[in-house]
Amino acid sequence: MSTHLFGLTNRTYKYSHAVGRAEFAGTGFRNATDMAIAPDGTVYVCNRSYENRPDGVHVTAITLDEEYITEFGAYGEADGEFMWPTSVALDSKGNLYLADEWLNRISKFTKDGEFVSKWGTAGSGDGELNGPAGLAIDADDNMIVVDSGNNRIQKFALDGKYISQFGSKGSDDGQFNLPWGIALDGEGHIYIADWRNDRIQKFTADGQHEASIGSTGSGVGQLNRPNGVAVDADGDIYVADWMNNRVEVFAPTGRYITEFRGEAELSKWGRDKLASNPDMIRQRSLAYANNPGYEKNLCHPCSVKIDPQGRIAIIDHTRNRIQVYVKEAVPALV
C-alpha cells in the first residue's frame, strides 16, 4: 500500500482551541482587527468596536491560554486614544505600535500599555499617511506601514522618520488596490495582502516584486478580499481570506496546501458566560443541533499571526474570538 501525498509532505494541521467571547471590556473582544504576539506569549488584541460603543475600543492583553492581563487605550483623538484602529506591531524592546486609519497616526505604548508618543501626518507626500492599515517591524527595528489609501508601502524609523517607499495604485506586479495586512518572513521578505486585487504580493526587503499568490474567487487558492497574512518558520504562508470566511495555507512556492474553515469549540470565557445564563445554554443546544457549523466556522477572519511556539492564531472577527491551530511535527490523527 502506498500513500498519496502528492508532494504535500510534512504538513499536518490540527485545530487546537478558541480564545475569547463577545464583550465590550475585560475577558473578550469586539470587532478585533489585529493582534501582535510578544516573545513571552502576551497577545495584544486591537478592538475596533464601533462609535456607539466606544467602551469597546481598546487593546486587550491576554495569553493564548486565555489569561486576561490588562486592557488600555480608549476611543478618541487624545494621546493614547484611537478611533479606527487597524493594526498593531511590536518592536524588539517589546513596545507596541498601533495604526489608526482615521486619524492617520501611529501611537506607541510600552508593553504595559503606557502611552509613549505618536506620529503621523495625513497626506500623500513622502512619509505622509492615508489610512494606515497594516504594520510590521523588521529585525532592524524599521517600521513598515501599509499606507492603504495611497496604495503604497512606506518604511519608517520607529520615531516616524521617513526612509523609503514602494508601490502605486493599479493591478500590475508591485501595484496595489487598497492593501491591508502585512507580514515579514525570516529572510526579510515583505508579504502584502493586496486587498482589492485579491492577491498576496511578495517583495524583497527593498521592494522588488518577487511573486503574487491568488486570484479573485472562492475556489481553491483563490481569494476574496484577503486582509491578513502570516509566514511561519518553514516559510508557509497563511492568508486570512476575509470574505470567503477561511484561512488559506500556501507553500513557500505559492502552491496551495489546505484551508481552515474554523472548528471552534467553546472557549473558557465562553463557558463562564454560559454558566451564568442557563436559559442560553438551552437555546444554544437547540441551535447547535440545528446548525453546528454556524458557531464553529470562521466569520470574516481578519488577521493571522504565528506565536512563539509556532501556533497559528486567527482573529475570528465577527465571532469575537481567536481560533488557534497547530502545525504538528508528528502527523495528527484527525
Partner: protein, 474 residues
C-alpha cells in the same frame, strides 16, 4: 435651465429619493425627466454601493447585532446610495409592514427585514408578501411562531389581511370576514423559525425560516370564497387577486409619494383623495401581473404627481428631514466617523427607525409634529443648513455670489429659497424674510470683509428658511 424643470426635478428627487444637491438636480434635468424616472425604477441601471468598502471601514455592520448599527447602516445607504428609489421604497414598506426591535430584540433581524424591502420592494407584490411571510423577524413579531395546528394564534393572519394587503374595507364594504382571518391564520400554521443561537457567548445567529409540516393545519379551508387545502402561499396568491389589494397598495403609494391621505383606519369609509389616480395605478397593477414598479411608473409619469398643487403638500417624515438635509449639505459622504449621532436624529423627532411604536406604524402627516418634535426638527435643520463650512452649503453660497457682484435683499432671499428647494413661502413669511434681509442692505463679495459678511448672512438666511413652517413640508 428652465426654473420649472428644476422645480419638477427637485420634486421628483424629494419624493422618489431623499432629495439631491443642486448640482445633481441640474445634471438630472439635463438627462431628462423620463430618463431619470426610468433609472430610478430600474436600480440595476445605477451604480451599486461598494459593499466591500462599506464593511471594511465599518466592519461592525456585518451581521451586526446592535440595533443602532443597523439603523446607522440604513441611514448611510439612504444618504449614499445612487439607487435612491430603492431606499425610499424600503422605507415605504417599513412604514407599512411594521415590526419593531423592541420585541424582536435583534438588530440584525431588522436589518435583514429591511433588506427584503430594498431588494424586492418594487417587484411582484405576491413575491414581496411571500418574503414577508417567511421573514423570521415578522413571524416572531406577529406571533406566528406561537400559532400551531392545535392552538391557533390569529395575529399574523389578521394583520396580513388588515394591515398588509386588503385593508379592512373599501367603498364602505368589508374586505374579509372573521372566518377568513381564521382560515388565513390556519394556512400559516407551521411557518416558523429554526432555533437560532443566543446572544452569548459569540452573538446571535441570523434567524432561519423553517416550515414544520407536522405543525401545519392541512385541513380544507374556505378563504375569500375559495375552498381548498390552502397553505400560506395559496393564501397570498388569493389575496393578490383581490381588487381590494390593488386599491390598498395604490392608496398607500399615493399617500407616501404624492400627498397625505387620511389616516388608514378611515379608508373603508373615506374615498381616495384622487380617485382617478388610484384607478390608474390599480390598472397598472392588473396589467403588469401585480408589479409595484409598474404602479410607480404610472405614478411618477402622471400629471397628478407632477401637479404643482401636490408639491410641498406632505409633511416630511423625520427620516426624510434628516437624510435630505445630509444629502443637500454634503455633510455625510463616504466613510467617516460621526454617523451614529445623525442616525439617532429621526428618533429625537419621533421616528425611531426599525422600531415603530406598533404594528400599525407611525402616525404620519401633521402628527409628526408636536411642540417637542418641532423644536428638534427646526434646530437640526437650521444648524446643518446654516453651517457654511459644509461642502454642499458652501456650493450654494458660491452660487448666490454668482448672481452678481451686488445683489439686493429681494434677490438674495429669492436666491436662497430657490437653492434650498425651491421653497415656496406664503407672502407674509416672504415679507418678513425680505424685511429681515433688508436690515443689512445689499450684498457684495468683492473684498474679504464683504465675502465674510456674505457668507455669514447666507448662513443665517438658510437657518431662517430651515426654521419656516413651509420647510416642514416636502
Amino acid at each position: 435651465m428652465a426654473e420649472q424643470d428644476i422645480a419638477l426635478m427637485s420634486h421628483l428627487m424629494r419624493r422618489a429619493g431623499f432629495g439631491a444637491s443642486r448640482d445633481e438636480i441640474e445634471a438630472k434635468v439635463a438627462q431628462g425627466y423620463d430618463k431619470v424616472v426610468h433609472e430610478l425604477l430600474n436600480p440595476e441601471t445605477q451604480e451599486a454601493i461598494e459593499e466591500d468598502l462599506l464593511i471594511r471601514y465599518n466592519p461592525s455592520y456585518y451581521e451586526a447585532a446592535a440595533i443602532e448599527n443597523n439603523v446607522q447602516q440604513w441611514v448611510w445607504r439612504m444618504i449614499n446610495s445612487p439607487r435612491q428609489l430603492q431606499e425610499k421604497v424600503a422605507l415605504f414598506w417599513h412604514m407599512i409592514f411594521c415590526a419593531g426591535h423592541s420585541k424582536i430584540d435583534s438588530g440584525q433581524e431588522m436589518g435583514l427585514m429591511v433588506d427584503i424591502f430594498r431588494q424586492d420592494g418594487m417587484g411582484r407584490f405576491d413575491n414581496l408578501l411571500l418574503k414577508l411571510s417567511t421573514n423570521p423577524g415578522m413571524m416572531y413579531y406577529l406571533d406566528n411562531t406561537e400559532s400551531h395546528k392545535s392552538n391557533l394564534n390569529e395575529n399574523y393572519g389578521r394583520e396580513l389581511l388588515e394591515l398588509f394587503s386588503l385593508g379592512v374595507g373599501m367603498d364602505e364594504g368589508f374586505n374579509y370576514s372573521e372566518d377568513d382571518v381564521k382560515a388565513c391564520a390556519g394556512a400559516f400554521t407551521g411557518w416558523n423559525i429554526a432555533p437560532p443561537y443566543p446572544p452569548f457567548p459569540h452573538g446571535r445567529s441570523p434567524w432561519e425560516f423553517r416550515f414544520d409540516p407536522a405543525d401545519h393545519d392541512n385541513s380544507e379551508k374556505t378563504f375569500l370564497g375559495e375552498t381548498g387545502k390552502w397553505n400560506g402561499d395559496d393564501i397570498i396568491e388569493i389575496v393578490c387577486k383581490q381588487p381590494a389589494t390593488a386599491r390598498f397598495v395604490a392608496r398607500h403609494l399615493y399617500n407616501y409619494f404624492v400627498a397625505d391621505e387620511p389616516q388608514i383606519p378611515s379608508w373603508r369609509l373615506t374615498p381616495p383623495r384622487d380617485q382617478a389616480a388610484i384607478e390608474a395605478m390599480e390598472k397598472a397593477y392588473w396589467e403588469s401581473d401585480h408589479s409595484i414598479k409598474a404602479m410607480l411608473e404610472v405614478l411618477f409619469t402622471s400629471n397628478f404627481f407632477k401637479d404643482e398643487a401636490v408639491r410641498y403638500a406632505k409633511v416630511k417624515n423625520p427620516t426624510e428631514m434628516v437624510v435630505s438635509l445630509l444629502r443637500m449639505t454634503g455633510e455625510y459622504q463616504g466613510y467617516k466617523p460621526g454617523l451614529f449621532e445623525y442616525s439617532q436624529e429621526p428618533k429625537y423627532m419621533g421616528m425611531d427607525l426599525m422600531n415603530p411604536p406598533t404594528v400599525e406604524g407611525w402616525h404620519t402627516g401633521r402628527e409628526w409634529i408636536d411642540s417637542g418634535t418641532l423644536v428638534e426638527r427646526i434646530n437640526f435643520a437650521s444648524d446643518i443648513l446654516g453651517n457654511t463650512e459644509l461642502p454642499g452649503v458652501r456650493s450654494l453660497v458660491n452660487r448666490l455670489m454668482g448672481l452678481g457682484d451686488k445683489i439686493s435683499p429681494e434677490q438674495f432671499v429669492n436666491g436662497c429659497l430657490d437653492l434650498t428647494g425651491p421653497v415656496v413661502l406664503t407672502s407674509d413669511t416672504m415679507g418678513l424674510m425680505i424685511a429681515h434681509a433688508s436690515k443689512e442692505g445689499d450684498l457684495s463679495h468683492g473684498t474679504d470683509a464683504e465675502k465674510d459678511s456674505f457668507v455669514r448672512r447666507s448662513g443665517e438666511m438658510f437657518q431662517m428658511i430651515a426654521a419656516t413652517a413651509e420647510f416642514q413640508f416636502e
